[in-house]
């Protein structure tokens, strides 16, 4: 097995995760991420299991909620924790692209 990821590979996962990586950190991540990936790669050696896949809450079944309204937040509470807001809106730098 390789002992480190390529720079491009690290930058790709950093992009998926939206985490900026400085040039001087790259090398460490190349090694550390590869160590973790080599470990998870061991799963390929696991054989003989049943293919059925179960999500988290194994034997539980979703209980549905009645369609009845509950308490809501005051808009003030919503914006209080937000780093940037204008009026009752939470604000972010302008997003160009999709309008929805």
């Amino acid at each position: 097995m390789e002992d480190k990821l390529t720079k491009e590979e690290v930058l790709h996962v950093a992009q998926l995760a939206r985490i900026n990586i400085d040039e001087d950190e790259l090398e460490t991540y190349q090694i550390e991420l590869k160590k973790l990936l080599n470990e998870v790669e061991k799963i390929s050696a696991v054989k003989g299991y049943d293919d059925e896949k179960l999500i988290a809450s194994w034997d539980r079944k979703t209980e549905l909620r009645e369609d009845i309204a509950g308490e809501m937040l005051d808009p003030k509470e919503v914006i209080n924790n937000a780093p940037r807001h204008s009026g009752n809106y939470i604000e972010v730098p302008v997003v160009i692209g999709d309008e929805s």
């Binding site: 470990e39 799963i43 179960l54």
Partner: protein, 484 residues
């Protein structure tokens, strides 16, 4: 120390008879915490509010066994109006606007929240050294780690600052620090305790549980926090039960399985010897201990890494500097906001896991890794189900070594997973697991036994744990002054 080392039963009597007031306990707790400051067990103290609550309780009837008792809460459990940081720069100034379901239950029983305990950042780690606020220290030897991620909760209980603490366990985070600190820690069956208000790390493993100085008190705290919660679809619909009910009953005729893997070379000789001596005691008491092979145990860490990192990468996506938490000042664009907020807000361990988790789910990888891990997890669960048809409980060591030095290197990203190799299978199978102290190493660090039960059979685990506790009758208060 006047009260905090005493059994809860005794305290309850004193409170009922009005010999002492909740405020006496709260004051002693804060005095202890101040004295033990160097242990760094807390991120935030709730002093003003705790004293206020204690005074209010003076006019109330002592209506339950946990009334008026100081309790510490791990800092990844949401407390309204009390800073909740997850030991991260990302939430350093985060003031929640709601209470976790367990916190509501704690308040309903009139326990008094003393503060929020130190931990690994977002519960990712096994030594609490990934905390943004510095690592807590082991009260048995302040040069040693507390274990993690619920390090602060284990430390403050071991140091007798409080009677009770809540931790969370995703891959051993209650049991492992409990073992390192010489206390009792229980990770209940997945679904036993509501996760609503527990900051998610790996949703399909996370579970809140109690840390206490003894077995009986652990069961008492579990009594108070379990129950179905309509806010958590993964919480189980179980009748309430008294987890203390089997405590003190003898274990004659019970059958325990000891997996060979748990006694393999990965575990230190010293610890193995302790386990063997305890199993001999159990046999002497009329129980049977069989060495067994359990499939997939050696794969548990790999499977755990895949599922936990995959889920974590998604659960932690919400920390983006928009609605709450740390945010890059004056961002120039939305991407600038995302990339820099998450670069600065998260520590290294967290970033590593998020990146690897993103990779594991990307493109076709989800099928190769995540989905396959889910399938094997299911098989592993069946393996345990079969085992529990023949055995009452599974036993083994909780950790492979005792607590190591705080100064040990942190640069191996695998280390934090391998520290939990013996406790992770329990989370994989959704089972309850607990640590009970069984002695000390040559250098006087606590050693613990790991007890694994079938789903929803916590009461039986307490039965065995209390039996061991009684037989060994260990002195479990860290001796001498704990100041550096």
């Amino acid at each position: 120390m006047k009260y905090l080392n005493k059994p809860i039963l005794e305290i309850n009597k004193l409170l009922k008879e009005k010999v002492i007031k909740p405020l006496d306990l709260v004051e002693e707790a804060f005095a202890n915490i101040e004295k033990n400051k160097a242990l760094n067990a807390y991120i935030t103290l709730n002093k003003e509010e705790a004293i206020k609550t204690a005074k209010e309780l003076e006019n109330k009837e002592v209506d339950n066994i946990l009334f008026g008792l100081p309790i510490a809460i791990k800092d990844n459990i949401i407390t309204k109006d009390l800073r909740t940081t997850c030991a991260s720069h990302m939430l350093e100034n985060f003031l929640p606007i709601y209470d976790a379901t367990v916190v509501k239950k704690i308040k309903a029983k009139n326990m008094i929240i003393i503060g929020k305990t130190n931990m690994d950042e977002f519960a990712m780690g096994s030594s609490s050294r990934t905390s943004y606020f510095g690592a807590p220290k082991n009260p048995w030897n302040t040069n040693k780690i507390s274990g993690g991620s619920s390090g602060g909760s284990a430390v403050t209980v071991a140091a007798r600052d409080v009677f009770l603490a809540l931790g969370s366990d995703t891959g051993g985070s209650i049991r492992q620090p409990a073992s390192y600190c010489g206390i009792v820690g229980m990770k209940p069956t997945y679904g036993r305790v509501s996760r609503y208000g527990l900051v998610a790390f790996a949703s399909s493993f996370d579970q809140i549980g109690p840390l206490t100085k003894n077995v009986y008190e652990n069961a008492l705290l579990l009594n108070a926090i379990v129950g179905k919660d309509d806010n958590d679809l993964t919480s189980a619909d179980k009748e309430s039960e008294d987890f203390t009910r089997l405590i003190g009953k003898d274990i004659k005729g019970m059958k325990f399985a000891l997996p060979n893997y748990f006694m393999s070379d990965i575990v230190s000789q010293e610890i193995k010897e302790k386990i063997i001596s305890v199993s001999k005691i159990l046999e002497k008491l009329g129980a049977k201990v069989d060495y067994v092979d359990v499939k997939y145990l050696e794969n548990a860490v790999t499977l755990y890494q895949i599922i936990a990192m995959g889920e974590a990468s998604s659960n932690l996506a919400r920390y983006d500097g928009i609605r709450f938490g740390y945010s890059l000042p004056n961002p120039t664009s939305i991407d600038n906001l995302y990339y820099e907020t998450r670069k600065t807000g998260f520590g290294k361990e967290v970033k590593r896991r998020i990146m690897v988790g993103s990779y594991l789910l990307s493109g076709e990888n989800a099928k190769i890794y995540y989905n396959k891990a889910l399938s094997i997890r299911d098989d592993m669960q069946k393996e345990f189900t079969n085992l529990f048809q023949k055995y009452d409980l599974v036993i083994g060591p909780t950790t492979t070594t005792t607590a190591y030095d705080l100064t040990d290197p942190m640069d191996d990203p695998l280390k934090s997973f391998l520290d939990d190799v013996l406790v992770i299978p329990v989370n994989m199978a959704g089972l309850p697991g607990m640590n009970v102290p069984i002695g000390f190493s040559k250098d006087n660090m606590p050693i613990g036994m790991h007890i694994i039960g079938n789903k929803f059979e916590e009461a039986k685990m307490y039965q065995l744990a209390s039996c061991i506790e009684k037989e060994l009758n260990l002195a479990l208060t860290p001796g001498g002054e704990i100041n550096e």
